[in-house]
Symmetry: C2
């Protein structure tokens, strides 16, 4: 078996500086680059015998087409981005999972970026927007003007759990009526004095939950607090809140803006001899895995579905769909566990 260009192969093996390009393959196979490209793309305008020669050359040179060259020529990245405030917490991973799964199936890579409240977040997101065909943006990671700028550039954007921006699709979960379900359920337990833990300024979701909570408490004819007990999003924040709450006189129940807060709160309370749910009931939001083991009553959100939808929306836009922006709202579900108080008939479990 002769090997017309064995030397090239050898050279490459010792110094893999210069990578092998489509032109090397063309030369090796004795055809033009156009033909190699056609063979690569599976075009039917190439003679079987030629294709075979090309394939042999590709094999011999161990050629892999450069994604960069290809993307530049095709003017598409074949990649989507997703932006998060923070990837920690059990919550976001699910969204990414749903997103990545769909994107992968559609042949797109996924670029992730978590902003961590860095002041350079806007810049980073703009940069990311230049590397993708479409971008999903979660929560309050980036200013509205930046989103608008990206939309203006022609990059499709879908917002997740975030206030709408002109020209961008969005997906979010239902909060107001879920808050109402929570309150209504708590009322059946006989709880009266209700507090809300979480900072509405932090996120649209929390703002809606707080609003829904207040409205529902009002509607139930109970005394609604004027203010939420403000706190961050982490277990520590919940633990700290326990101190404030005990100082101010414990309510019957604390509705928390997310599970981590609720869990931190419960733990801190119990450390101080306050029993949950006997002395005070607690509810959360998200239904993270730990909530199940802690017996936390909470609101389940279809996070994975949210990610998947975002990916599909982007795909549609990238594929040329230019209809009016869509705004999906996913339904949530109340998950009742021990922490909101046991009904007599449930007490056996």
């Amino acid at each position: 078996m002769d090997h017309p260009d064995g030397e090239t192969v050898k050279r490459r093996r010792t110094s893999n500086r210069a990578s092998v390009t489509i032109r090397d393959v063309a030369r090796h196979a004795g055809v033009s680059v156009a033909t190699v490209s056609r063979a690569l793309r599976g075009s039917d305008l190439v003679h079987p015998a030629t294709r075979e020669r090309v394939d042999a050359a590709i094999e011999a040179l161990r050629f892999t087409p450069s994604q960069l060259g290809r993307s530049l020529a095709e003017r598409r990245h074949a990649a989507n981005g997703i932006v998060f405030p923070d990837l920690s917490g059990p919550f976001y991973a699910e969204v990414v999972l749903g997103y990545e799964e769909v994107a992968a199936r559609l042949g797109r890579s996924v670029l992730i970026l978590s902003t961590h409240n860095r002041e350079s977040a806007d810049e980073m997101v703009l940069d990311l927007a230049g590397r993708v065909d479409g971008l999903a943006v979660f929560g309050r990671t980036v200013h509205d003007v930046v989103v608008a700028e990206i939309v203006e550039r022609g990059v499709p954007v879908v917002l997740m759990a975030r206030t709408e921006v002109r020209g961008a699709d969005s997906v979010r979960t239902e909060n107001v009526s879920a808050a109402q379900s929570v309150v209504e359920h708590l009322v059946t337990h006989g709880h009266r004095r209700m507090a809300f833990l979480g900072d509405p300024v932090d996120s649209t979701d929390v703002a809606e939950r707080w609003a829904g909570f207040r409205a529902a408490v009002d509607r139930a004819g109970l005394p609604a607090p004027d203010q939420p007990v403000t706190a961050g999003f982490k277990e520590d924040d919940g633990a700290r809140a326990a101190v404030d709450l005990r100082a101010g006189g414990l309510p019957d129940v604390v509705v928390c803006a997310n599970d981590e807060l609720a869990l931190g709160l419960m733990e801190a309370l119990e450390d101080h001899g306050v029993r949950v749910p006997d002395d005070v009931a607690v509810t959360g939001w998200d239904d993270v895995m730990a909530a199940r083991y802690a017996g936390l009553t909470t609101v389940r959100q279809p996070m994975r579905d949210m990610g998947a939808r975002a990916a599909r929306m982007l795909d549609a836009r990238i594929s040329g769909d230019s209809s009016e922006p869509r705004h999906d709202v996913l339904t949530t579900q109340l998950v009742v566990r021990r922490s909101c108080g046991l009904h007599p008939k449930e007490a056996h479990r």
Copy 2:
């Protein structure tokens, strides 16, 4: 203020088909593309007055340099990849977090890919390798030959929690001595008959944990089981194992390969009236958030650090470090909670 090229702007605004390129900017500013490029890169070989004109043109045309063009010319992607078996579970998110954080700081985007046991995983990973400057591969996601192939192509690879491959760096956590700590601790509780739950074939980590477990049990002079009780990685798998274990006569303790298994097992046991730790003790691995609330004794691994290290290793390789492959082993930590049995002196908490 006159506007030599206002029409271009207008045209662009109505039809954002053709994006504005560096040549448009050059024309608008009355300079060459080289000068624009230099101005963009902040070269000091451009006259302040010229730079100003260029900046004005960039502003006027709302020019954003194409990352693709730039990457092609610079022959670097400015992006790293990370490959996972599955992004679900509370475990991987932490690794990604550490990885992304460091990569972002180093100016690299992060591409994620989760293989989900798809048969096309090898292909997907190879494709990904063509889009990045470096790749982190977690666990048993892809065959050794594929890793070797990527290394051969000259793309730096770091393996995480996976058997080593020639030419690739690796990071993993210590398993054998951690298993020994677990067993030794269990012995102090007076436990004798020990079982191991998890499938050593599934992952290198589990294989090491099983081996370490056996050795430690042996060393303690206790009867070591010949076989692990095989199971997957999820809570369901743990729950299913509960049935088998009860059928075979309960041991004193079940050492599980990860927390999800342990949690599923504990829950299923308690549902059947088997008390943990009184009737049987259970330990896990990973220290996920839920473990804390379930009171699960487990082994904590520095997942975030693992991701961060991987990112730094890749950075070094990409920057030209061609020293011998490194193989870091991170230390783990036994976290004792209720599930392994209460010592008298701990009983008050």
